[in-house]
Symmetry: C2
Subunit: 340 residues, 2 copies
Amino acid sequence: MTPVSDRNHRITFQRRPQGLPAPGDFGADTTPIPAPGPGQFLSRTVWLSLDPYYRNVMKGTQMYAEGVKPGDVMIGDTVAQIIESRHTDYRAGEFVRVRNGWQEYALSSGHDVRKLDPAAAPVSTALGVLGMPGITGYAGLVYLGEPKPGETVVVSAATGAVGTTAGQVARLVGARAVGIAGSDEKCNFAVRELGYEACVNYKKGDLAAQLKEACPRGIDVYFDNVGGDTLQAVLRNLALHARVVLCGMIESYSLEQPPPGPFLGPVVGARATMRGLVVYDHMHRMDELVRVVGGWIRAGTFRYREDITEGLSQAPEAFCRLMRGENFGKALVRVSAEHN
Amino acid sequence: MTPVSDRNHRITFQRRPQGLPAPGDFGADTTPIPAPGPGQFLSRTVWLSLDPYYRNVMKGTQMYAEGVKPGDVMIGDTVAQIIESRHTDYRAGEFVRVRNGWQEYALSSGHDVRKLDPAAAPVSTALGVLGMPGITGYAGLVYLGEPKPGETVVVSAATGAVGTTAGQVARLVGARAVGIAGSDEKCNFAVRELGYEACVNYKKGDLAAQLKEACPRGIDVYFDNVGGDTLQAVLRNLALHARVVLCGMIESYSLEQPPPGPFLGPVVGARATMRGLVVYDHMHRMDELVRVVGGWIRAGTFRYREDITEGLSQAPEAFCRLMRGENFGKALVRVSAEHN
């Protein structure tokens, strides 16, 4: 195969955006089309994916190693067709998912490249539902959300590439999918085309109340693509033993400071798990407690301290001290003597 | 055994506290000592436990069914000794954990009663480390925190009844326990008596920085007894795959409104799990995605939508539209045509 033009057109990074990016933050130029050396292939970009994380790259955030300098070609995910190959694993005509960036031609050594089968699915899906957004929605929902048939799964940014996958996977494993989106057009698409059972437009009134109506038995799984107020509204409607998958926080990408309210970004970065504890769920373990910790107490390896007030009449004052944080040790009132 | 006084002294609920409770929110009276009917026993209170949740009971919060009306005896957890029994399972002289409330004598039908063995441990521990606070700290740390030997476990309210248990259980299962407390005296006690490896005084400067120093490899498990700013400081120091056990939120008990910042109370009530998702952890599942979702696409049960912009030169404007939320479908730029 031969190149279709004799120059390589590129879009470059020009300057760090202030708030939302503007077209003037980018530049354009052309370079010669490079020739592959030994172990390399040259490919022509067919599809360039546009993804919100590019905004973080332009910010020079530490989280993404590949920051760009003014004049550099913008980095980006692409599907490309191989033009010429000196790599033993690839040959001309094959389609690959490769990070060519915002340009028509690029060389690759085969690192971080995935071969595509045009017969299996349109190659553009390698940038969407069968690519990074797809694996995010699929693996996140299946392996972190763990939806069960009949459960209610809520997905924010329901019609986005990640949400499209998470919502349909929820439905196809037998759960009830409820979307959250920002327009009636998107909500209609979510229900009619993607098979969500309901979709709530968060721009129309009280989101928590709308969710309560759409999810009368509570939300078993929430796939969170946005964070912020939407997350808060969902938390108020969780069902018992709900799972919340903290994924995107797109609202914060254009902000210089973390947004107000619950900022759970560090939970995502740490792949952490937060679990709600209610002691009544563990009362069947009382015998275990007495056996294990009681044994440690008798062995002298476990200590405790009691903050003892003498006499029932002193209990109100002692309780007020406790609530002011002035106790030191388990607060007890000795009401009468033990008789053995 | 015979009663030691001929009247039953009681402390009653008088009025709903404003902010922190005051002794004037309580009253006192005496009643006749009741006689047990068939299937009942009479016990004399030995130990009355004082616990922060009483504050919620006085608030009339729905969460606790047993609200109190002015003039009612204050409810409360107690250890008592049986005086007279007409219940086949209990006899005079035995010690029980029973909810007598703030009074010297009470009848019980045996419901929610636990017999205590004074030879196994002091009976007062049934209200502390071998009671509700103990099971909270023990089961919460072991079953929700899942500490591994060598991991770093941070416990807030480190010297409280729950923290005393959680911190020592962490140490005794081989983890490194680091406490958070509100005075140097408590921190010294935590380290010298309870075996915490370090303890941070949150009233002394930047808590996040102090935690970073005390936990150089990050925090693997956080047992949260307080919520609020302390939780935020811990989140900034989580190690990979950290577990956060959301337990008490004592700071909010005296507030009429949820505190500012991340209010995760609903997560606790729902026994929910929040998990951070980072897609790079799931890249080994790409083949699975293509097989499963690709199969659904070919079967026509999975749909997707693409928002296609024609031509590389239009990419900057298309990216800006994406960041303004104006795309509808996976944002792609067609850079060149596919050739089959």
